[in-house]
Amino acid sequence: MTYTASEMMTIAAARALRNDDVCFVGIGLPSAACNVARLTHAPGVTLIYESGAIATRPRVLPLSIGDGELCETALTTVSVPEMFRYWLQGGRITVGFLGGAQVDRYGNLNSTVIGSYRRPTVRLPGAGGATEIAASCGRVFIVMRHHPRAFVPRLDFVTTLGHGPTGRERRALGIPTAGPVLLVTDLCIFEPDPETNEFLVAAVHPGVTCREVREHTGWSVRFAAEVRETEPPAAGELEVLRELQARTARAHGTAAAE
């Protein structure tokens, strides 16, 4: 079965979820990945959206983090302050999915501005829940399209702390959670070096060369001692993802999360 790079990325992210994970789900690709996981190998995974929906089981992918579908299929829905206080800060979420406009080699993220804060070239949406998701979730998965303008040696603005500008700041601050443990792109999978916390390429997707990865990364990318090839999407995985997107398209008139 043929598949797109986007499908590979979504499925690779989905696979990283465990059956007993409790995920804080963002919109778009993370939402697709989490729901694919739930509909394949991890039926017990608990999905939580920052709008307050707890243990939700949407039949289609939401366009926003607060679509009615989320509340209708949730175990219960709490207020937003309760979500951030009792559930996120309370340490009950095992995985947070994040993305951004820029990521660096230590998993720090920028979703605030391109250029200077006071005079930005591009004003981005801002932090949203990301700052505290990165601090409070047990581990953080980053999912982003691979592009040299997004994979940068130095962020224009640190919206969200990964392992810190030199890879050591998170630990020094005494933050007890693991931080970014995975970075999935449409080309490859990064995992942090256990010593330095630098993201190393751990696996490349089928048909992708190390050179392509290098060319798409704005920093001088390093590879793990043994680089695996990502297992290609199984027919079952692709089917589940495509059916989810087709249901979503019928419901919204848009794919919502390719």
């Binding site: 206080r85 004003r123 949406p125 919206t159 008139g253």
Partner: protein
């Protein structure tokens, strides 16, 4: 005591030039009808407060109502940029827009502190990031028991909170349910409050004993405004018009297109019939 009014009268008496105003709603129950009336009444110099300024604030900023924005995420959910917000920040059109920028956790805690009559909130956050260096309303203090450094933000106390809800009863009590966001906190934190509702019922009838209800005596005004949350949604009444959220991207992309839309769909219209 919340009293029933016409929308235009309620906005005229509650929202003044220069006020700080929180029109809240977390994707669900966004008070579009009330926001459009604020645009029609050409309020100026407002400090707009909201966790997720979406299309409504994009419209209010583009229409020139705002002087300042207090927020934590300014995008079109699932779609992309808010072009009017970006134009104001990047090019100062139609006017410069001062920003007080937070994270969601900070805003949620700040509303909670406002509702609870506190001067500030504390939480665990903002560690190792750049927002504290561009926002002097983010400070740190030490836990008096463990010494741990905790983030603190001032309580949000808007002059006016505006929300949309499902139902009011004849006494002016208001019930909301589903994704309730920070609306209760915004109303309790504000000096004045306005709630638009889908319908007015004699009695709420059988319900959860723990239903989210705002008693009439914490509200300033209640307005019947069916459909008042469109193109967002009201659980139990109508669904989110996702296609409009997608279409907004093109409408708001350039100034002329935006102006034409506002002229036709907001300024050129009277308030929704009650």
């Amino acid at each position: 005591m919340g009293s029933f009014r016409k929308l235009s009268e309620a906005i005229a008496s509650l929202v003044h030039d220069g006020d700080s105003v929180a029109l809240e709603g977390f994707t669900h129950l966004i008070p579009f009808a009330a926001g459009h009336e604020i645009i029609r009444q050409r309020r100026r110099g407002l400090t707009l407060i909201r966790m997720t300024p979406d299309l409504l604030y994009d419209q209010m900023i583009g229409a020139g109502c705002a002087r300042k924005l207090v927020f934590s995420w300014g995008g079109n959910p699932g779609v992309g940029s808010l072009h009017r917000f970006r134009d104001a920040v990047e090019k100062q059109w139609p006017a410069p827009l001062e920003l007080e920028e937070h994270s969601h956790a900070a805003m949620a805690n700040a509303y909670t502190a406002g509702a609870a009559g506190m001067p500030c909130a504390i939480f665990r956050g903002y560690q190792g990031v750049d927002l504290p260096s561009v926002n002097s309303n983010i400070r740190f203090l030490a836990c008096p028991f463990t010494g741990e450094s905790l983030a603190s933000v001032p309580a949000l106390r808007p002059d006016v909170a505006v929300i949309h809800a499902q139902k009011a009863d004849r006494q002016g009590n208001v019930l909301l349910e589903g994704i309730v966001g920070v609306q209760k906190e915004a109303v309790l934190a504000a000096r004045r409050s306005l709630v638009t509702v889908e319908e007015v019922v004699d009695d709420f009838g059988p319900r959860s004993p723990n239903a989210v209800i705002l008693p009439s005596w914490v509200l300033t005004a209640v307005v019947l405004a069916p459909g008042g949350a469109r193109p967002s949604y009201a659980q139990g009444y109508y669904a989110r018009d996702n296609s409009f959220y997608v279409a907004w991207d093109a409408i708001a992309k350039d100034r002329a297109g935006f102006q034409a839309w506002i002229d036709e769909h907001v300024l050129g219209r009277a308030e929704l019939p009650a």
